[in-house]
């Protein structure tokens, strides 16, 4: 017989991340394929989006993806931050922020998906030419933070290894799987928020939208874009691995090292085609 577990915030997050994770997998991989294997992010111009959204099916697809990715990401990030925000006031602030971010981005995204593009390439916001610069600046900032973060972490670890100093819990494969999973989830959520903002230009200023999207071709951003593909692939497979492990009820957890190697191999091999496409390779 099975007893009903008690409810708590952590129990809710745990269940929601799994249910939404399962539902989102197919959508995410179709999205990756369309945008990163068969095409380029910088080629997703207003004309491309307009043609795609002529089909109600694609609008429904994109809306489902937005709904699930946003709520999954916010629930995950909220649970992560709630573990470290200990004071009642900071916890309340966190709850309010999570709710506000979800409502704002879901509202904006839904409106954008439902709206038709204006005739011609100018829209009501077209005179605000600073918007593309701001969004591109945001992308460059995220990319810089990611590059500096990876280099700093690598240098810190390298120095400890060189001095034969203990490296904390990084001896354990589970630690790496966990840390990469979290970093990937948080990074993809951060990008999703910027991405909702840039797509929001489509109905309001198609010309500015095109200018923003063109920035994705900047060589400086390409490692980050490839990294995002890798992050999504890794996070998805690691999420599936966790759920499989939980479903199996066996001592599959002894498989930590082999599963970590499998995850890395899978992630690299599925991200390489996207990197090749980003670097200009065409089948």
């Amino acid at each position: 017989m099975r007893a009903r577990p008690a409810r708590g915030r952590q129990a809710f997050a745990w269940h929601y991340l799994r249910v939404s994770g399962v539902l989102i997998v197919a959508l995410v991989f179709v999205h990756l394929f369309v945008m990163h294997y068969a095409s380029l992010p910088s080629a997703a111009t207003a004309a491309f989006v307009g043609a795609r959204w002529a089909a109600a099916g694609w609008r429904a697809f994109d809306w489902m993806l937005l709904l699930l990715a946003l709520t999954h990401g916010v629930v995950g990030a909220h649970a992560m931050l709630r573990d470290v925000a200990r004071r009642p006031l900071s916890r309340t602030a966190l709850d309010v922020t999570a709710g506000a971010v979800t409502a704002a981005f879901l509202g904006l995204g839904t409106a954008v998906i439902l709206m038709a593009a204006p005739p011609g390439d100018r829209g009501p916001l077209s005179s605000y030419t600073w918007i593309p610069s701001l969004l591109t600046g945001g992308l460059v900032t995220i990319a810089t933070a990611a590059y500096v973060g990876v280099l700093a972490a690598g240098a810190a670890l390298g120095m400890r290894l060189a001095r034969r100093d203990p490296i904390g819990r990084w001896n354990y494969p589970g630690q790496w799987m966990f840390a990469i999973n979290r970093t990937a989830g948080a990074g993809v959520l951060g990008f999703l928020l910027v991405h909702v903002l840039d797509v929001a230009l489509f109905p309001f200023a198609p010309d500015l939208y095109d200018r923003t999207v063109a920035a994705y071709a900047m060589p400086y951003l390409i490692p980050m874009e490839a990294g995002l593909v890798a992050a999504v692939v890794y996070h998805a497979f690691d999420g599936l691995r966790l759920m499989l492990l939980e479903a199996l009820d066996r001592r599959a957890s002894r498989m930590a090292a082999p599963s970590f190697i499998a995850l890395v191999v899978l992630t690299i091999s599925l991200s390489l085609p996207a990197l090749a496409v980003l670097l200009g390779w065409r089948p």
């Binding site: 017989m1 099975r2 007893a3 009903r4 577990p5 008690a6 708590g8 915030r9 952590q10 129990a11 997050a13 745990w14 573990d83 470290v84 200990r86 034969r164 100093d165 203990p166 490296i167 904390g168 819990r169 990084w170 001896n171 354990y172 494969p173 589970g174 630690q175 799987m177 966990f178 966790l242 492990l245 939980e246 009820d249 066996r250 001592r251 957890s253 002894r254 930590a256």
Partner: protein, 240 residues
Amino acid sequence: MPAGRTVSIRVRRFDPAAGGRRLWQAYDVDAGPMMSVLDALFWVLENEDPTLAFRYSCRAGMCGSCAMVINGREGLACARRLERLRAPVTVEPLRSLPVIKDLLVDLRPFFEKYRAVDPFYIGQAASVFDPASEPAVLPRGDAAREIVDRQIDCIACGACYSACPIVSIVPEFLGPAALNRAYTVAADARDAAGVERLHRVTADGGVFACHSVGNCVTVCPVGVDPLLSIQLLRKGAVHR
């Protein structure tokens, strides 16, 4: 002791009386054959520094007193042989627990959480006091019993608690050892504590705080799989 080779070990020292700074101290130990890390610590105690503090009892890998972090991995000092370790061998106290002195940690937070799950068998009052009651019958090959038999081997050394990153992030997380213990008693067909204990371990700070990192499984010196117990509790896969 037969003349052996010299093995250098680096010990993370901490003395609250001497300013409370944590620093590394290196010793060159005369390592005999089959010498354990615990033996090396005794060598230091006898030959170099009588103030070195560490905990031990059985010296045979059974009591769990000597758990510490050896070359970055949690383990029992009496069960890790020097010759199998890469030198210099680093020895640190368990993580996530207050250090009292050197390698000696205060295990109170660990055992307080252990106690919080009612880590003992609670039977029905009638079956204990009523001489006419029938003893419980456990069917042969009972699947839950098989798991319980394995998981009950825990020696409460604290290695898993130290290796778990969630313990260090979430102060109220009960940790792998306590949750493993909770499963072994909750899955007992005769258990009468039931729903109450189950509610405690599935509330915040319980099994749903765990992210299945699995370091606990990697380090357990007696082959217990605390993550499996946590997974079974998450599913409510216990008798009720």
